[in-house]
Symmetry: C2
Subunit: 297 residues, 2 copies
């Protein structure tokens, strides 16, 4: 009975709203206070972290943890680390030398408010904070090391940064394999890490971790395709500036209809992966998959 269509038994909007509030409340506590020296840097870090956003990655991390062990407590620090890591990538993506964006989610970007040098440094400090948060999590040392490996791999030269590099180099190109590679690394790697890290915090076994990774990766790929579609709709450029910025859109190689079909296939792959997991607390992961394909903003 875990159909994504039958949403009567799970209120996703309420769940997402509650989890977002929870994420932002904890985020406010784990970040350095604005009155700690250097105060301008800590203000900029908080400014970057609190400009809205759906908090989908930390929510996925905590939901994956709960799906495995019935509680999301041990995933809280890893979830914050993922959100902070994601935040740093947005700060650097917005820089004049990168996407040169002056606004994100309707607010001036970090470099507009704090200057370009401080924006570079704010991103740098956020990345270090992400790893510091994991190191301070209440998981066992063996789990913590696994979590660090997972985040470092997703964040590194063959993960998010690699995807961004190829994205910048690929402007104007229309090559299916290239665009898939960029989506996989620039976007899906962090979703993959988010769900696996939730699993690691819950002491998931290898089969469960593989399933969670498959779910996260497929979800991330679908998420990026839907972003591309939404961004291409006349008068609607909200979605892209909210979550990801891809110079190279899948609409360069697919029609919108083909792209929607492709996204649906990824969602089906994600849902299929969930079947090997315990089903007691699987509703949020099922429902988030449905949300990704159906979202309009």
């Amino acid at each position: 009975m875990n159909s994504i269509i039958d949403k009567n038994d799970f209120d996703l909007n309420r769940y997402l709203r509650e989890q977002k509030t929870k994420v932002e409340s904890i985020l406010g506590k784990v970040m350095p206070n604005e009155d700690v020296r250097p105060t301008d840097l800590h203000k900029a870090m908080r400014y970057a972290a609190f400009t809205g956003g759906k908090r989908i990655r930390p929510i996925l991390c905590m939901a994956a943890c709960k799906a495995i062990c019935g509680s999301n407590t041990d995933a809280i620090y890893p979830a914050m680390a993922i959100e902070i890591l994601h935040t740093y990538t947005l700060v650097h993506d917005d820089l004049p030398s990168m996407d040169d964006d002056e606004e994100r989610r309707g607010k001036p970007t970090v470099h507009i408010v704090y200057g370009e040098a401080n924006a570079v440094l704010t991103g740098d400090a956020l990345q270090a904070l992400a790893f510091e948060l994991i190191a301070n999590s209440n998981t066992t040392p063996a789990q913590t090391v696994m979590l660090i490996k997972e985040l470092a791999t997703a964040a590194g030269s063959q993960g998010v940064v690699g995807g961004q590099v190829e994205d910048l180099a690929a402007i104007g190109q229309s090559d299916k394999e290239l665009i898939h590679w960029i989506h996989l690394h620039k976007t899906a790697d962090l979703f993959y890490a988010a769900t696996r890290m939730g699993g690691i915090a819950a002491n998931a076994n290898d089969t469960e971790l593989t399933a969670l990774g498959k779910y996260g990766q497929s979800l991330g790929l679908a998420f990026q395709i839907i972003d591309d579609i939404l961004d291409d709709e006349p008068g609607n450029n909200v979605a892209t500036t909210e979550e990801t910025e891809t110079e190279t859109t899948c609409l360069a190689v697919h029609t919108a209809v083909e792209a929607k079909v492709l996204a649906s296939e990824y969602i089906n792959t994600a849902l299929a992966a969930l079947k090997v997991l315990p089903q007691e607390n699987i509703e949020p992961l099922n429902a988030i998959a449905a949300f990704v394909i159906e979202r309009t903003i």
Copy 2:
């Protein structure tokens, strides 16, 4: 007879040469190959990591490990992580929006060769790699978590990045406390982490770790002062561009003679800290302290 003056029984130059060769050989092996996708990013990361330099931080890390347990094997990955972390800070320091340097150690900086956007991303990927290397070290999970905490703290908003932020904000200011704060965080924090991480890899006890931290921190403070002095000498601007770049020099608040005395005091503090450690393998740490105060380039 562990005097720093009596250097007859320890050939520091040979030691530094051998250790530098060792560091660079291992660095070449632990970094992603240039033929791994994205190839341009991996080329840029290697370009940044192999532009010379004394490799003093990784050498200190390995020497601290050997001083405690008689072998430096377990400190190899932490040492590489520190050097990679230091490398990323230099790549970002050189950016047009920061120090705007076109050359480092006589070679074009990363952004000159690979473009500004790629230089930002190269630094980002190097920081992630530093944490990935520690996570893959052959220390116990408990040690590895301690190592991550140490590096993340030194690298973060109240460490190297914090120092850099205050340095950029302090141009033209002459305030002793401010300049000390900048030196402490921008430069000494990474020396402090380097020696403590060597100790952690060697399973040092708390007393030993405190001593190693004191040694590293004092050495770092002396190192920065000597850098400022060398940089101020007519026709000699090699030192600063080799290791650190400080907008705010201690010569704004001290004469060169006063600064040299201050550096000597830090070196004496560093040497005193070493006295509580086992003395069998202490020569390199003693000799490096002497080297820092006596160096002319």
